[in-house]
């Protein structure tokens, strides 16, 4: 494909000596080999810093509940039920929520590991909604995932070299030497020794396994990584190692993260923008500063209040939510949070919360809230709600 440079010189430049020409040709050939080690469709995204890399509109993922003798559909789990957001290039965008909110499902649906029921997912300008495995393959190296469970996410019967190399092979890196080099560099980048390629997962600790999982994602040179609770299963002293690693890697490799977690302290430290999810919907979307200084949703406030702080001097009265999390198969009507909302009770149980879904409202500067009364969410209101609630009788049945 390449024409040798010898004899072809621009009019402005002096003619090249044969040695120089040979050098250039050899260099070209070397680059040729290496470039052809990568599949042809590979392009790095042309998205400038700060522009949306991933756009999600109206995304829904429903799971049917089958039952009965004839395996009929008897219900639906509304795991993700209408989610809109953008992830901008270079940022760390977090999704935070408790169990049943759909955050893990969201992570997988965005990557098309699960097929969306409705809605649209756009990556670097390309609509990838509903693409099957084959179509997604070239995009897989651009969008990767790190899993929560360091023990289950590595095949116990494969050595590390295969675990990481398999992805490279699937992406068309045929040359074994190139694969080995990239595998070893990836391991080094995450702080493990190159010689670990020969080892098996069971020989590593949880934190090290998580690093291997990160290396697996990194070896493909992605631009975007979904981190599905990457530190939740790790010991506290190891969590900070991994968080530091993720931050370093972001800087070095120009990565964008979608960070999923249930731990608000970690999210507050780590992310740039946060989306709070509850029962399949985003209830607040803001930068960390906005959320920390002025949360506008009663659920966010309750979450912030619920975190036990490691400072024994802070003995404040806590805002405790009543009842249990409703099942995602039977979400409450209207605003899904209304059954547990302290603000609603504080305001005398307005009807609108039970009948109308508030929809995401813009509060300015990109701060969005799903609430009918976001301006009522103040520190004072929270204080009085915390004081008036009985401490013990907080288990109100929902079913």
């Amino acid at each position: 494909m390449t024409e040798p440079l010898v004899g072809v010189a621009s009019d402005d430049l002096p003619p090249m000596s044969p040695e120089e020409a040979v050098e250039i040709v050899e260099e070209q050939q070397r680059e040729e080999q290496l470039v052809h080690a990568l599949p042809d469709e590979w392009i790095k995204a042309d998205v400038p810093e700060g522009a949306p890399l991933l756009q999600v509109t109206g995304l829904k993922k429903h799971f049917p509940i089958m039952g009965g003798f004839l395996r009929k559909r008897i219900g639906t789990v509304y795991a993700v039920d209408g989610v809109d957001f953008d992830v901008r290039k270079g940022e760390i965008f977090s999704i935070v929520g408790e169990s049943g909110c759909g955050k893990s499902t969201l992570g997988r649906t965005v990557l098309q590991l699960l097929k969306p029921t409705e809605g649209k997912v756009t990556f670097a300008g390309e609509d990838i909604t509903g693409w099957n495995n084959t179509r997604m393959r070239p995009y897989r190296k651009r969008m990767q995932i790190i899993f929560q469970d360091p023990f289950g996410s590595l095949n116990p019967r494969m050595p590390v070299s295969d675990i990481i190399g398999e992805g490279l092979m699937a992406q068309g890196v045929r040359d074994g030497k190139v694969r080995t080099e990239r595998t070893e560099s990836a391991l080094e980048a995450v702080g493990l020794r190159r010689s670990y390629t020969r080892r098996f997962p069971h020989e590593f600790s949880g934190g090290q396994r998580q690093r291997i999982g990160i290396a697996r994602a990194l070896a493909l040179e992605p631009e975007f990584i979904v981190c599905d609770e990457p530190v939740s299963a790790l010991d506290v002293s190891i969590q900070s190692q991994i968080l530091n690693l993720l931050l370093d890697l972001r800087k070095e490799y120009d990565l964008t993260y979608m960070f999923i977690s249930h731990n608000l302290s970690v999210v507050e430290y780590f992310s740039d923008r946060v989306a709070v999810m509850y029962l399949g919907q985003v209830h607040e979307l803001a930068t960390v500063e906005q959320m920390y200084h002025s949360p506008k949703h009663p659920y966010t406030m309750a979450l912030l209040s619920a975190i036990p702080k490691p400072d024994p001097r802070i003995r404040s009265r806590r805002l405790v939510l009543k009842g249990d999390l409703p099942s995602p198969a039977a979400p409450p009507s209207g605003c899904r949070f209304h059954t547990r909302c302290w603000l609603r009770e504080h305001l005398g149980n307005p009807e609108v919360c039970a009948t109308d879904d508030p929809g995401l409202r813009d509060m300015g500067e990109g701060h969005q809230v799903r609430c009918h009364f976001p301006d009522e969410v103040t520190a004072d209101a929270a204080q009085s709600a915390a004081h008036s609630a009985s401490r013990v009788d907080t288990a109100v049945p929902n079913a």
Partner: protein
Amino acid sequence: MTEVTAPASPRAVAPGTPVASVPPAPDVLLELRGLRTEFRTMDGIVRAVDGVDYAVRVGKSLGVVGESGSGKSVTALTVMRLLESNATTTGEVWFGGRELLGMSGHDIEALRGSEMAMIFQEPLTSLNPVFTVGDQIAEQVRRHKKVSKKEAWGQAIEAIRLVGIPSPERRVKQYPHELSGGMRQRVMIAMALSCEPKLLIADEPTTALDVTIQAQILELLKEIQARTGSALLLITHDLGVVAEMVDEVVVMYGGQVVERGPVEEVLIRPSAPYTVGLIESIPSVEKRGGRLHAIKGVVANPFNLPPACRFEPRCPYAWELCRTEAPPLVQISDSQVARCHLHTPAGADRRPGLEMDRARLIASEPGPVAVRP
């Protein structure tokens, strides 16, 4: 149902041998002295707990903090004599003036459930799925009190009401799988409290729960402790939970106690390098933009312990002495002890390193938090 027959006394010394030690003062409800627990495994003998001492006073609460492999849960199971037969325990456990490890299986069963009760991390697997929750609580009651079936059932309903579950008459007839995680944990607490124990041992009671449910359960535990006056032994890895719930805290690493003291002292002015490292590495919004302090290395594995100081490979202040001699537990103040060479005369000239980091921790006292109630 949830009963486990106790094996014969696991002590290395034959039972019936007169115990030479003196029982503790009457206000000390539970005291562990030199507790060591070993497990026989295919790979040899593993010492999961290696010389642990701590005490819980009547009506007070103690938190045991540690990561995986620290031995915190094994210690609690040893107290309750719930370990498998491949475990050997030495040392003493004093409860209410009686030594537990030398007790016969029969005596310990009388104690368990009535004077000391335990709640576990995973409520789903700790409750028997084939019996209703009412049955399980009533069984507990009947075992320790001589009441009729009807009365026991009534007490079960009352216990469920006391832990804040509404419509207890309805709930009492439900099976564990019909309840949510938070409810099940409440049922476990109800079961534990049904016989008004003097000591409640909670092994990671909220780790498996969502944060808003965790808040409910922690508030409930506080309320119950205030109301019944029982002592609480809380085992967790979460420093936040400990800060909120207990008076005194014990930090464990690699099967040993590395620090012990009142919770204000230990969490705000920690003395052991491990504790300092743990507290510094907690992410918070104030640390944004910078690198988190991380304790390097991997958590000590009981199968593969360093020869001298167990924390040495990860310790930023370690030097040769730490590799050759195991550090003793040093009294730092009246109420605080820490296990580190830095607090002995041998480490005096290296202390400033630790002091600087401690000072930094103390100085970073959080101001009044803006919004939270």
